[in-house]
């Protein structure tokens, strides 16, 4: 039968059941609220498990308070959820160590991560905490790229690394700042050790 001769069937579109998308509500530690689709949440193993365990219905999602993510601030969480929404439905890479880690940063991700260092490192923390494998991949790659071709001195500036001298000074300062009572106890302990005592008590 040709295409032209095929019978035409009228379809009542309203009669087709449309699966309603569920949007979960999350709250950052600075009380900013985000609505995230169910599919986007699947990118995060931690959040996916959490919402599965909660077993919320569509009504629950609307009526119950937003799920609090206490370790992450609003600015970072916004980036995380933007990333998840853009990459929703994509396969989550499995790292079993057998395949070399060749990471290409897609254009969207590159734009998303065009942020200051502080926020980028927070994004890495968040990606790790929420177990978003691919976001961790690209954000770590971005940090690695920042170091590409830099001398040790330039690296110190890029990553704000203290030099050994600064580290030493910090240690000394920390020792000096030690609680005087703890210092007294320590000194007494050292004194007793010098005197050959076996026990402190």
């Amino acid at each position: 039968m040709s295409v032209e001769n095929a019978p035409v069937v009228d379809v009542d579109e309203a009669a087709i059941p449309v699966e309603k998308k569920m949007y979960y509500r999350f709250e950052s530690n600075d009380k900013k609220e985000f609505r995230v689709s169910e599919l986007a949440i699947q990118q995060s193993e931690t959040l996916n498990r959490l919402v599965e365990a909660m077993g919320y219905t569509s009504e629950d999602v609307e009526n119950k308070p937003a799920i609090a993510i206490e370790n992450i601030d609003g600015k970072t969480l916004k980036l995380v959820f933007q990333w998840c929404e853009h990459h929703k439905g994509e396969a989550i890479p499995v790292d079993d160590g057998s395949v070399p880690k060749i990471v290409e940063i897609p254009e969207f991700d590159a734009k998303l991560m065009d942020i200051d260092n502080g926020l980028l490192f927070k994004l890495i923390w968040a990606a790790d905490y929420l177990n978003i494998v691919q976001l961790l991949n690209v954000s770590c790659k971005k940090v690695a790229n920042m170091a590409q071709g830099k001398t040790p001195a330039q690296l110190r500036r890029v990553y704000l690394l203290p030099s050994d001298e600064e580290d030493e000074a910090a240690k000394r300062a920390a020792q000096e700042a030690q609680d005087p009572r703890a210092r007294e106890v320590e000194e007494e302990f050292e004194e007793r050790k010098r005197q050959g005592g076996n026990s402190f008590f």
């Binding site: 490192f121 790659k141 170091a147 040790p152 690394l161 203290p162 030099s163 580290d167 910090a170 609680d179």
Partner: protein, 426 residues
């Protein structure tokens, strides 16, 4: 300049009465707000210049409340402020102030696990440079395992018309290859040996190819005494004394798949000791060139029988044909299950399902191939085509597991279609 602002040069100000000291160290504001005094201390971009100002303000002033927001990590400043805080403990609610401290997240704030994730994606040179920034980073880089497709040192490399020593390696991820050439062994010892040792220290290496003579090998051994090496395949055809190979095989982690070397100048006892090393007899494939003492080399087959080696475990060695055949007869006389008058011997293992098949070519000096095979399959050798197909599937399985296409070609020995037919001699 506005009247309520002072620069860092004004640190010799008179004692201040401060109700609240807000330290807000970031790129935009660069300021210290002294509440109560109505003053804002402006400092220059270098955070180091901040320390004396704060110290001065904290020591001379009466601080009732301290709020700190330090976006740039500055431990000296942080610790200095805490010291003052502790000294002023009577008048300051320590816990309250502790809560108000917010630090910027940066590289040094990342946990080691995340640092390593980033390092995994850095090029080799970047890793090395990062290790040079501070002791902390060096500790991480020195203990961060890296996967290498190969690490090769070749004593007989060429540089124009002269021989040179070439050190090359390929990082697996990101995939990068490096070459360094050294004019002679003294230059290599001076400039390249420490890099090689570093690679051996951090590397999980697929192919470790040490094509160096006994002299350099001794130098290397002297420097890696307490190192546990990680590799899948070991090659060295230049050093003909077994000491180097023995040391390497004694000091490697389990799971070596292939061992290829040349024990030409090796004493019989040393060769026997070498064959008895677990890393050697547990390897899937062992290849030895110029075996002067076949009786000692056959010790490997005894070990195979002891540990019941897996099917398709292979031992190839080059030796004088007649001496070796005699040695096989002498060593395994009571175990010879099947014998083919035309260069093939089957040795019974303790497991009834397994045999060791030994094949060799009709020359004075030839390569012997010993393989652990299924005891049922020798009968199939009457039908070369069938054997060939079943053998090829097993071989392809092996090669899929561990690609060794760059190895020596022993195809003539394994080509069953060229084998003459045999008869059972029970």
């Amino acid at each position: 300049m506005p009247q309520n602002e002072i620069t860092s040069d004004d640190t010799t100000e008179k004692p201040l009465k401060i109700q609240e000291l807000t330290v807000n160290v970031n790129k935009k504001s660069n300021s210290i707000h002294l509440k109560g005094s109505g003053r804002v201390l402006k400092f220059q971009s270098s955070t180091r210049k901040l320390d004396p100002i704060v110290k001065c303000a904290m020591e001379d002033g009466h601080v009732e409340r301290l709020r700190m927001k330090i976006e740039k990590p500055n431990r000296v400043l942080k610790n200095g402020l805490f010291k003052v805080l502790l000294d002023e403990a009577d008048r300051i609610d320590r816990l309250h102030n502790w809560d108000t401290v917010v630090f910027e997240t940066n590289w040094i704030d990342l946990p080691e696990k995340l640092k390593r994730e980033c390092i995994d994606r850095m090029s080799f040179k970047t890793r090395m440079r990062l290790g040079m920034t501070s002791k902390t980073e060096k500790l991480i880089i020195d203990s961060h395992q890296a996967k290498f497709d190969f690490v090769k040192i070749d004593e007989n490399s060429r540089s124009c018309d002269e021989t040179s020593i070439e050190l090359s390696f390929r990082l697996r991820s990101p995939r990068q290859e490096f070459f360094s050439k050294f004019q002679n062994s003294s230059e290599f010892i001076e400039k390249g040996l420490s890099l090689l040792i570093f690679l051996l220290k951090i590397g999980s290496i697929r192919i470790l190819d040490l094509e160096i003579g006994d002299e350099l090998m001794d130098q290397l051994i002297g420097r890696i005494k307490n190192l546990k090496l990680r590799f899948k395949k070991y090659m060295n055809f230049v050093s003909t004394d077994s000491r180097g190979a023995q040391f390497i095989m004694e000091n490697c982690e389990e799971g070596v798949l292939e061992v290829l070397c040349d024990p030409k100048d090796c004493e019989e006892k040393d060769l026997e000791t070498f064959m008895e090393l677990p890393a050697v007899y547990k390897a899937n494939r062992v290849v030895l060139w110029h075996v002067q003492h076949p009786f000692a080399a056959l010790k490997l087959l005894e070990k195979w029988i002891q540990i019941d080696s897996e099917y398709n475990t292979i031992f190839d060695f080059e030796a004088v044909t007649q001496t070796t055949v005699d040695a096989i007869a002498l060593k395994f006389g009571d175990r010879i299950e099947l014998q083919n008058e035309d260069r093939a011997v089957w040795i019974r293992m303790d497991s009834p399902q397994k045999l060791i098949r030994i094949t060799y070519a009709p020359f004075y000096d030839t390569i012997f191939r010993c393989t652990v095979v299924d005891s049922v399959r020798p009968a199939l050798h009457d039908y070369p085509a069938e054997e060939s197909s079943s053998s090829s599937s097993a071989e392809s399985e092996r090669s899929a597991k561990y690609d060794s296409k760059d190895d020596l070609d022993f195809s003539f020995a394994s080509d069953s279609t060229k084998w003459p037919k045999f008869s059972r001699i029970r």
